[in-house]
């Protein structure tokens, strides 16, 4: 009885933290991001680098945010990495995430010098936004895109990883 209560409590906690996470934006440094970018398993990871000031990013963001719903149960994980300045977290980023009702996990990369990390994210990334990485460790598939997507183009790319 006590065990089942504990499990119920843990499940509730998990649910709650999931719901809470959708509302918040955690601020991370590059080593933490690098850990997230090096996950190799049977999940297809989609990481989109964007910023509230980047018009093409804002335009394509709903398509990325929709992925977790469209591919629910297909092991697709979306991470939206805001490249806004950390000083804009409360003023711009959090209100944006709330207003757009983003369901995906959003983090803000708090680093001042892109020259120290862009190459480590991907040698092909020159620094233009938006930038997207899609990979699946188990399938040894990886692709990066320094350009914007239409919803149809994004779906086509994701499908290549779910074959």
């Amino acid at each position: 009885m006590r065990l089942s209560k504990l499990i119920a409590f843990a499940a509730a906690l998990l649910l709650w933290s999931g719901a809470a996470r959708a509302q918040q934006v955690s601020v991370i440094k590059f080593p933490e991001l690098q850990k997230r970018l090096s996950r190799q398993n049977d999940t297809t990871y989609v990481v989109n680098f964007w910023a509230t000031w980047c018009a093409p990013c804002v335009k394509e963001l709903p398509a990325f945010d929709q992925l977790s719903t469209t591919y629910a149960g297909k092991k697709v994980k979306v991470l939206l990495v805001s490249m806004d300045y950390a000083s804009q977290l409360d003023k711009k980023v959090k209100p944006f995430v709330l207003r757009r009702e983003l369901k995906s996990e959003v983090v803000l990369l708090n680093e001042t010098d892109p020259n120290t990390y862009l190459e480590k994210v991907d040698p092909k990334w020159s620094g233009a936004l938006p930038f997207t990485m899609i990979w699946n460790g188990k399938k040894s598939k990886r692709a990066t895109f320094e350009r914007e997507f239409t919803p149809a183009e994004l779906t086509a790319e994701i499908k290549k990883f779910l074959l």
């Binding site: 000031w53 980047c54 018009a55 093409p56 490249m83 300045y85 000083s87 001042t112 010098d113 892109p114 020259n115 120290t116 862009l118 190459e119 092909k124 990334w125 020159s126 620094g127 233009a128 936004l129 938006p130 320094e146 350009r147 914007e148």
Partner: protein, 205 residues
Amino acid sequence: MKKLLSFFPALLALVLLSNFVDGPAGYQVGDKVTDFKLKNVDGKTVSLADNKAAKGYIVVFTCNTCPYAKAYESRIIELHQKYAPQGYPVVAINPNDPAVAPGDSFADMKARAASKKYPFPYLQDETQQVARTYGATRTPHLYVVTRRGSDFVVSYIGAIDDNSEDAKQVKTRYVEQAMTDILAGKPAATSSTKAIGCTIKWKKA
């Protein structure tokens, strides 16, 4: 040999395909640049060859609309003030398609250059051919070119400094470090850096 020849078309296709996937690479440090002829905000056209006294140029792809370009605007003016007297004036080029970025029209460029009193030419890359040839991807995206006879060779590509948000917090001035070497007649110790910027607003096909 025959076998090799039959293999060649496949290889060629592969090379072409990989080129297509990666996009045009543009200039690397050491490459000779092709001169351009672009319209300045004063209505005259500007080419690298025009200024016979220039030892080189600081060519910056920038625009009116990108927050990063705006953040660096006064620093670009300062670069010109510091390096034009030493033979390396700034040439600013706006590669954005005004149909995609309405604030980057020629009229808007004129207004911006006038209100901020740009001491350098601000050119419109109407066909976007210059940005493509250079391999520029974002604004701001900076190139230092150095004179070799009547040609110009790329000496530095990349970032202005290490802090776009706050000029006062800058620790490493990448382009100034490179300029110190270049002015001393040496290759830049760090000749290539990267920065975040706004993607160039390419014409919609």
